[in-house]
């Protein structure tokens, strides 16, 4: 942010956008300094508020990060003077934090990037799963509590309560702010990636509500993915996750029709795909798959890349996609992966082959009540001309689907099999 012209007059909106990036860095550095998330959050907001008032008038200081840090620390000292009991408790935390990892004095330089520790704290398995995404959006994406509440479509008071509860557990159970060591990392990194991906999927296919896609949420997830990629350049699954998100998000404009209805891959106008984003995503597939056994995100990114590279559905490299699903099934055996593989087999070997595989999944408890299963069956039944069964399967899917655009799509397909030629 040092390249922005000093001397004031910068529009406040753009200043705030810059701070969203700086917010996470400052917060992470202050958490490291004080060992307390609440205090760090409070003084981060104070320091940014001070910068918003001062910088447009006084100009941006030569070391903005150092200025923010110094200001935040001064605010923290004020707060501690006011609250002696809190200060006493904090002193204990600080001593232990120092013992674990000495604090670097950053007042003179720019902020060190200590966000990775915060990622691991926010995604800690000891926190309720539903709170990890909210906390990550709040602490690392710099969203306010009302923004996080809107993102998850829950009342502001509910979200505020969840965030307070999660922070209380971090404080009172003393969940540490640290990056797990090399021996623990394979166990803990998937949890961090899962949090980012769940934010993405919530944005990509809203689980409820009138709109199918909440693109802002998907974009926040991609932003978090980029931060993680910078912080952990050697982790292949981080590359895989970012690649996967970019390759899916590149199709966002083609995924909904003019009335907001769902448009599936087979009917999408591929000319509306974001080529720049596809190129960026494709570039992440080789680092995600190179050097040892690939991870599930890397393999899914490779599958997405094959779709995005094809000019049409028919010219898609289905044998390669089926082969990648075979790999994915060994990495993460699940009926949902088997369902996707069956759909790819139907494209490679014909609908009868796909139907046979789908019928073999009929008793899977995980697929009971899962709308994509009857939808996939209905599509294949339609293709082989078993229209009565196809209509029944579409009706079953309609009874299960959540978001309205998805339901509209199913009604259209149901109509097509009930009145062929209409």
């Amino acid at each position: 942010m040092g390249d922005r012209a000093a001397g004031g007059g910068a529009p406040v909106a753009s200043v705030e956008a810059v701070f969203r990036e700086e917010h996470g860095r400052l917060l992470a550095a202050l958490v490291r300094r004080f060992g307390d998330l609440d205090l760090a959050e409070e003084v981060t907001s104070d320091a940014i508020e001070a910068a918003l008032t001062r910088w447009p008038v006084d100009g941006v200081p030569p070391k903005p990060g150092g200025w923010l840090m110094t200001t935040a620390r001064r605010k923290a000292v004020d707060r501690l003077r006011r609250d002696q009991a809190f200060a006493a408790r904090l002193a204990i935390l600080q001593v232990e934090a120092e013992r674990a990892a000495p604090t670097v004095d950053v007042a003179q330089g720019d902020l060190p990037d200590e966000r990775l520790q915060l990622f691991f704290t926010c995604a800690h398995p000891a926190l309720p799963a539903e709170d990890r995404g909210a906390l990550t959006l709040r602490c690392l994406a710099g969203l306010t509590t009302p923004e996080v509440a809107r993102a998850y479509l829950v009342p502001q008071a509910t979200m505020a309560k969840r965030i307070v509860r999660a922070k209380k557990k971090i404080r009172e159970a003393r969940i540490p702010f640290r990056v797990p060591g090399a021996d623990e990392l394979p166990e803990r990194l998937p949890g961090v990636l899962q949090v980012v991906y769940s934010i993405f999927t919530e944005g990509y296919a809203a689980s409820s509500g009138p709109r199918l896609q909440r693109l802002d949420l998907a974009e926040e997830a991609i932003r978090l993915g980029r931060i993680l990629r910078r912080l952990m350049p050697a982790e292949r699954e981080v590359a895989g996750l970012l690649g996967l998100m970019l390759l899916i998000h590149a199709r966002r404009d083609a995924r909904t029709g003019p009335d907001g209805e769902l448009v599936l891959l087979d009917e999408q106008d591929r000319g509306r795909w974001d080529r720049t984003m596809i190129e960026e995503g494709r570039g992440l597939v080789p680092p995600a798959l190179t050097g040892g056994l690939p991870g599930p995100y890397g393999v899914q990114a490779a599958i997405a890349a094959l779709h995005n590279e094809a000019a049409t559905l028919a010219t898609t490299d289905w044998p390669q996609i089926v082969a990648l699903y075979d790999v994915l099934l060994t990495l993460t055996p699940s009926p949902v992966v088997a369902l996707n593989r069956a759909a790819a087999v139907a494209m490679r070997d014909g609908p009868e082959a796909g139907l046979a595989l789908l019928d073999g999944l009929a008793d899977e408890p995980a697929l009971r009540g899962y709308a994509p299963y009857p939808t996939a069956r209905a599509d294949l039944l339609h293709r082989v001309g078993r229209l009565t069964e196809a209509a029944a399967a579409y009706r079953e899917a309609l009874g299960l689907a959540g978001a309205e655009p998805e339901r509209a799509h199913l009604r259209r397909r149901l109509h097509a099999v009930e009145q062929p030629g209409a």
Partner: protein, 116 residues
């Protein structure tokens, strides 16, 4: 021979606010035990939401979850108090505990700090 007394609190949903015991009740109870000469040591556990469960599968893989859950009415088999810097170290010790294996679990709960 010493004994540990386990106190099962009602959840916020089922607790009867009118029938809740007060701080004074606890002080009186504590005093009674001390006067009877039976008190050895006692700690209040922090709020239930601070609890965490560890399970170790046959393959040695570890699962750490937010706990406890409604369906896990497990009988506590015993307890240790350990002094470690943070939750992750405590979870490491929990994962090494035999009680975490064979379908069992070790719930790690921090002891509340008062007046700090």
């Amino acid at each position: 021979m010493k004994y540990m007394l386990l106190i099962q609190s009602a959840s916020a949903e089922t607790a009867d606010a009118a029938d809740e015991c007060t701080v004074e009740d606890w002080i009186a109870y504590d005093k009674e035990m001390r006067e009877a000469g039976i008190w050895v040591s006692g700690e209040s556990l922090a709020d239930l939401l601070t609890a965490t469960a560890v399970r170790v599968g046959r393959d040695g893989g570890r699962t750490v979850t937010d706990g406890p859950f409604a369906e896990t009415r497990e009988i506590l088999g015993g307890f240790y108090v350990i002094d470690v810097p943070d939750l992750d170290v405590a979870l490491d010790w929990a994962a090494r505990c035999p009680g975490a294996r064979g379908g069992g679990s070790v719930v790690v709960r921090p002891v509340a700090e008062f007046g700090g």
